[in-house]
């Protein structure tokens, strides 16, 4: 093989996948002066990052490592918003967790201190306060834990803006280009093969979300990511439904196995829990569902019905509103729910994927950490819990 490549056919780093994660990785690398190419089979974005909600949040994890990672990720948005020339509608207006079960009041209150200790702004709204702030919420909702700094944004504009700014910093953007193979030499990454030619490079970042395992296979690696489908309903444009984003507290509690009030067998089977997000455009997005159905992104009437019922339980006025669209996307889920941001046994091959339901919120911190990792210095967050090896070496039985 020939190292005298045309310089256009070579890069210091090739990022694979142009979703929120891949574009953020390319952005931070290009900003740090790296010679980087970003390869995406569609446009920026094309996969999960254009079929999701737009929450960048801290509410959905108990205090601890992952919660702090989410906070670190959220904190990066204002600075990047100022640096991009695309406005991605970043609004840190808060996300409320609605509580409708007496038994949750105590645990909810108890969780506040731990989150506050991590610098996260949490408020407890009792029933009167909640009704005052959100008159459209059902009468029997008891309280709300409001994560006052949690944010929403437009994920499509985010990924598009990151790619564009990465390009301005010198990254080579390669939309409409499919990765078909990875060439190795003496076991280490040597080049990326695409349907538009070969790019010689010693470093590859696999940021292909639910497709990351297919890229991993090209170098013989098993990357344990499964697509976890989620569906969304979109309301007509209106006011008076929800003035900010909400989710249901009971769903987090239900992970412990307890049954939620008013949950039907369908809701249980489809993993349905309320998520409401009023968008900048005036529509309101309603989710959520969680199912393992392969790469299927078709809408399922039974799931949509269960989601609509769940949403009406918390926002009865939805009965008056029309639904104008629906769509489904795929969360890249790992066995322990945390992403993989990691080198691998294959020298030069890195993984930045598996962010499940937090890939938008964690996009920037992932980009920053990958840039630090490749820089060789210490990373600003300990990456040990996110290493691929945690899945490769099963712990020995005691």
């Amino acid at each position: 093989m020939n190292d005298q490549q045309n310089k256009h056919d070579a890069a210091e780093v090739v990022v694979l996948g142009g979703g929120a994660v891949g574009t953020a990785v390319a952005y931070y690398l290009a900003r740090a002066g790296r010679n980087v190419a970003l390869v995406e089979l569609g446009e920026f974005p094309w996969g999960s990052s254009k079929r999701c909600d737009g929450h960048a949040v801290t509410y959905d994890s108990p205090p601890g490592y992952f919660s702090r990672l989410c906070k670190a990720g959220l904190d990066l948005f204002p600075e990047v918003a100022a640096d991009l020339d695309v406005d991605f509608d970043f609004e840190p207006e808060g996300v409320g967790l609605l509580i409708d079960d007496e038994r949750d009041l105590e645990t909810a209150r108890a969780s506040i201190e731990g989150k506050r200790a991590e610098g996260i702004e949490v408020q407890f709204w009792d029933r009167a306060e909640l009704r005052r702030r959100e008159p459209g919420v059902a009468d029997d909702v008891l309280a709300c834990l409001n994560f006052a700094s949690d944010a929403k944004l437009n994920p499509m504009r985010l990924a598009f803006g990151l790619a564009r700014r990465a390009g301005a910093y010198g990254a080579r953007l390669m939309p409409r280009t499919r990765v078909t193979g990875i060439e190795t030499r003496d076991g280490a990454v040597a080049a990326v093969l695409t349907d538009r030619g070969r790019i010689a490079s010693p470093v590859v970042i696999d940021a292909c979300g639910v497709w990351a395992p297919l890229i991993g296979q090209m170098v013989g690696l098993t990357i344990p990511i499964r697509p976890r489908q989620g569906q969304i309903l979109v309301s007509e444009k209106l006011r008076g439904l929800a003035s900010q984003s909400y989710a249901e507290y009971g769903y987090l509690a239900a992970k412990g196995g307890r049954k939620r009030n008013g949950v039907t067998a369908d809701m249980e089977a489809y993993g349905v829990a309320l998520v409401a997000e009023p968008t900048e455009a005036g529509t309101v997005l309603f989710g959520s569902s969680r199912r393992y159905v392969g790469l299927d992104t078709s809408s399922h009437p039974g799931v949509l019905r269960a989601m609509a019922q769940r949403a009406r339980r918390f926002f009865p006025r939805l009965a008056e509103a029309r639904i104008i669209r629906c769509y489904a996307g795929l969360r890249p889920a790992t066995p322990d729910g945390k992403p993989i941001i990691s080198p691998t046994p294959v020298p030069g091959f890195f993984v930045a994927a598996g962010h499940e339901g937090n890939g938008i919120g964690l996009s920037l911190i992932t980009g920053k950490l990958v840039a630090e990792l490749l820089g060789g210095g210490p990373t600003s967050v300990d990456l040990a819990p996110l290493r691929l090896e945690r899945f490769l070496e099963p712990p020995h039985a005691a």
Binding site: P135, G136, E236, K237, L238, R239, G240, L241, E280, A281, G282, R317, E320, A321, R322, I324
Partner: protein, 102 residues
């Protein structure tokens, strides 16, 4: 190039558009009727208040929203005109809190 949305009945109907009576063929959509009577826009947007007119005429773009017989956010391109209909522009987005008080 243009054909009527519904078969020719030879009839006409009178409806109210922004408080003004207009008489049109009974075989058209509300969108076509008000455009034919010189309306340049059917709604204004929520954020900037910009004027919008029908774009797709087939139910996809939601740029033809009007208030029809008191019901907000109706797609004027999908509704056939009817005798006595009251039609006005959709100004910004409707407020569910307000309709609840009614």
């Amino acid at each position: 190039m243009f054909t009527k949305a519904f078969p020719d009945s030879g009839k006409s109907v009178t409806l109210s558009f922004e408080g003004k009576a207009i008489t049109v063929s009974a075989d058209m959509t509300v969108a076509a009727a008000v455009l034919g009577h010189g309306a340049k826009h059917l709604r204004t947007t929520a954020k900037s208040g910009e004027e919008r007119a029908p774009y797709c005429h087939m139910g996809v773009c939601f740029d033809c929203l009007m208030e029809i017989d008191g019901v907000p956010n109706q797609q004027a391109c999908l509704r056939r005109v009817e005798e006595g209909m009251t039609v006005s522009r959709q100004r910004g987005v409707p407020d569910l809190a307000r309709t609840e008080e009614k």
